[in-house]
């Protein structure tokens, strides 16, 4: 399988498909590049030359002992694009992948055509999600409890606990839907790296730097998503952003898996025209 060893020594697994302008797709925490390939890549392959890759610690990429902040991950992406000779690209990320796309766009303004940020959260907006009354915790507990996992009150706002418990519920999407997860590798990254702590490290993109992201950004969120607080903040503070609302869905946060056809329609419409994000929605 194709792998790139970066000057940092890190080796990343990647896949390429399609023809057209460059489009890089970045998965989120606990995921891997398959998130994009099950439905979305085949539908976009006639429109873009697509690059997907496994983040460090995920899929078939290396799992170094540290370096899991969004700043680190954006540097990995820069190294990968240098290695592959991709000078300018559209970026589409989901969740932490969307955060990484925004970090990369901040650091590399000349190398980003447009950004599709699906359910971006952003470490600098962690205060929106750490409060006990954040609706995301309630949604998450409900999902686990529907699958027979009881969440004790003291862990209802505990990110690492919730992620670990989520590994015990059957797969929800794709060809292995309904089958047990194989969490061994993901539990290894939780056990042996600072991933969940690094996830909250603000690094390059404190709130004051958000207005300095020059690239057009399409903010793609589901109606009723627990991450709409980040959507609203970014729409107000990014200089060149527009809002794209997906219909409400069961989990809300997992658009690329829950409603891939709708996501694809929006990406084709949003990214096909270089001026599409010029005006706010």
């Amino acid at each position: 399988m194709p792998k790139a060893t970066l000057p940092s020594g890190l080796t990343l697994h990647y896949q390429r498909a399609g023809r057209g302008p460059d489009l890089v797709m970045i998965h989120g925490l606990t995921g891997n590049l398959a998130v994009w390939h099950l439905k979305i890549v085949p539908m976009l392959a006639d429109h873009f030359r697509i690059l997907t890759y496994d983040l460090r610690g995920h899929g078939y990429s290396d799992m170094p002992p540290d370096g899991y902040t969004a700043t680190d991950m954006a540097a990995d992406l820069e190294g990968l694009l240098d290695h592959l000779g991709v000078e300018r690209a559209n970026l589409v990320g989901h969740s932490y992948g969307a955060d990484i796309a925004l970090y990369y766009a901040f650091r590399n303004p000349g190398r980003v055509l447009q950004v599709g940020a699906i359910e971006a959260a952003l470490p600098a907006l962690i205060h929106l999600r750490t409060r006990e009354d954040w609706v995301g915790w309630t949604y998450w507990v409900q999902v686990l409890e529907r699958s027979g996992v009881t969440v004790p009150p003291e862990h209802r706002c505990d990110l690492e606990y919730m992620v670990r418990q989520s590994m015990s519920i059957p797969k929800k999407w794709g060809p292995l839907k309904g089958l047990p997860r194989n969490p061994e590798k993901f539990l290894r990254v939780l056990d042996s790296t600072p991933l969940t702590r690094d996830y909250e490290v603000v690094g390059d993109l404190p709130l004051e730097n958000i207005p300095r992201i020059e690239a057009p950004v399409h903010l793609i969120y589901a109606e009723g998503s627990a991450f709409l607080g980040s959507h609203d903040y970014l729409l107000e503070h990014l200089p060149n952003a527009r809002s794209v609302m997906l219909p409400s869905s069961e989990w809300g946060h997992f658009g690329p898996l829950e409603q891939p056809e709708v996501v694809v329609d929006h990406l084709i419409e949003s990214l096909a025209s270089p001026t599409a994000a010029g005006a706010r929605a």
């Binding site: 896949q15 590049l33 085949p42 899929g59 060809p175 194989n182």
Partner: protein, 101 residues
Amino acid sequence: MPLTHKQILDAVLELMTELSGDWEYSGAITAETRLLGDLAMDSLDLVILGGELQERYGQLPFSEFLAELGKQEAEARDVTIGELVDLISRQQRATAPGGVA
């Protein structure tokens, strides 16, 4: 001229043996080997396999193949390497000159 079923099977077995190092599977791989039950392939492995096969044999209806797999009852869900070779073979015949797509 399309490749024969045997030629495709031999090449796919060779590919699977090569990839099995990454999948931490050390048993013999044959046409009867099951992708899920024996090789414990995950979605990511299926995606990688699909990419490798399409690099060798051109466009395949692999997403449709995965979607069909996902519709099988969870308890009985599986596919053998032989069945995967059938898919490639059918596609080769369909796209060959004079073939019926």
